[in-house]
């Protein structure tokens, strides 16, 4: 009889444990239903941030991708961009977008969204962490694009497609180095007629990253693109800049970075969703 009693106790305990496990599982699954709060619209600060990041990338006509090659201790980071902005009044449009997000979108989603974008408006620049590289523009019209380099950049690969026919290339300020240097640059430039453009007879080579280099492409009947590389006033060594006037250019710039850390690209725009605040992260890779 004692044995029977022990069996009964053991089986009862096992059944109760089974019930408890089932209950815990059910609770962990969130009871599979939506609460009233969840039924609302956008449900987290993270989703709003991701949404706004995509809007900002579209506003800048900017795409970012990266590939980490640990075996080679290298990171390939590519920016796909068009300069200048196709918007007639980009500053006004940017202000209208932020007002729309803070007012209309906040109200529609029942979220308290506010943005601090003063720094970005003054200097529309995004930062690549942890490589201490900035990618930005002199203003929201994106006529001048500057990559403020660092010694982590060993190679720029630039694909440029111009909207004008180029009839003159002046590269008197551009010096290819006869010997290897810490900075290699490769150009793949085509004008609107599909003509390939060479810089002093070359498409690729080494330059001294501590000296100033530039070349000018002049279009027909008008339009100019000035490309600068190396040591740029106000930006330091290993930098690269594009200045467009009266023409548009699709510019895909790939940076080869020395390192194995993945990149995080963020804009100096603070977004607060209800009580949560964060910088706008445009890309992680």
């Amino acid at each position: 009889m004692k044995r029977g009693f022990v069996y009964a106790v053991i089986f009862t305990a096992l059944f109760l444990m089974l019930l408890m496990v089932a209950r815990i599982y059910l609770l962990s699954e969130g009871s599979m239903g939506l609460s009233k709060a969840e039924k609302g619209s956008v449900d987290s600060a993270g989703l709003v941030m991701a949404d706004l990041s995509q809007d900002l990338l579209h506003f800048l006509d900017l795409g970012i991708e990266s590939k980490t090659l640990p075996a080679a201790s290298r990171v390939n980071l590519t920016f796909h961009n068009t300069i200048p902005s196709e918007l007639t009044y980009p500053g006004t449009e940017f202000g209208e977008w932020t007002a729309f997000v803070e007012n209309d979108f906040s109200e529609k989603t029942n979220l308290n969204i506010s943005m601090n974008y003063v720094d970005f408006q003054l200097r529309p620049t995004i930062t690549v962490s942890p490589y201490n590289i900035t990618y930005g523009y002199s203003a929201l019209d994106r006529r001048r694009l500057v990559i403020n380099g660092s010694s982590a950049i060993t190679n720029y690969s630039i694909v440029m497609r111009l909207s004008s026919n180029i009839n003159e290339t002046n590269a008197s300020n551009w010096s290819w180095s006869a010997t290897p240097t810490p900075l290699f640059i490769a150009f793949d430039i085509e004008d609107s007629e599909g003509e390939r453009i060479l810089i002093n007879g070359q498409e690729a080579g080494y330059i001294d990253p501590s000296t100033y280099n530039s070349f000018v492409l002049s279009g027909t009947p008008s339009g100019r693109m000035v490309v600068e590389a190396g040591s740029l006033p106000g930006y330091g060594n290993h930098s690269l800049a594009f200045n467009a006037s009266d023409l548009r250019a699709r510019i895909d710039t790939t940076l080869l970075l020395n390192g194995t850390d993945g990149v995080t690209v963020f804009a100096p725009i603070w977004v607060a969703v209800n009580e949560q605040q964060s910088n706008l992260i445009l890309f992680r890779g």
């Binding site: 009889m1 029977g4 009964a8 009862t12 059944f15 019930l19 089932a22 209950r23 059910l26 969130g30 009871s31 599979m32 239903g33 939506l34 039924k39 609302g40 619209s41 956008v42 449900d43 989703l47 991701a50 949404d51 706004l52 995509q54 809007d55 579209h58 506003f59 196709e86 918007l87 007639t88 009044y89 449009e93 209208e96 977008w97 729309f100 997000v101 209309d104 979108f105 109200e107 529609k108 989603t109």
Partner: protein
């Protein structure tokens, strides 16, 4: 007699425990919703749908051209038990609504909204898209 009493008590306790366990199991299982009709999955589908339509430029294209074919195709590619619609607003004014072919939600179970920009002819329009969904 004492053995008979103990056996009876034992069986009564066993019956009570069995009923308790059966009731508990039925209560718990009645709260379970199969993944097929999981509202979280429906909402994630809506979120992914709008994000991919924005990334591919199809939301923008629909907003600019007024052509809703791509949105309809995306809605019709959802699992067959999902009924959903996409509305596009310019600021707060509705400009387009697309429903999945063959169904309409009487009561939307999930709603997801996101902003997007429509840029054309040198100007920009601030828009948002609203996904509403339920089960058929």
């Amino acid at each position: 007699m004492s053995r008979g009493f103990i056996l009876t008590t034992d069986s009564v306790i066993a019956v009570i425990l069995s009923v308790f366990i059966a009731v508990s199991v039925l209560t718990i299982s009645s709260h379970f919703v199969y993944p097929r009709d999981d509202p979280h999955a429906l909402r994630e589908a809506g979120r992914d749908l709008l994000a991919s339509l924005e990334a591919s430029g199809e939301l923008e294209e629909a907003a600019i051209s007024g052509n809703n074919e791509a949105l309809l195709r995306a809605l019709n590619s959802l699992p067959p038990t999902y009924c959903a619609s996409i509305q596009i607003f310019k600021n707060t004014a509705p400009v387009m609504q697309v429903n999945r072919t063959g169904c309409t939600c009487e009561n939307e179970l999930v709603i997801y909204q996101r902003t997007f920009l429509a840029i054309s002819d040198g100007s920009q329009r601030e828009m948002f898209a609203r996904f509403g969904g339920c089960f058929t």
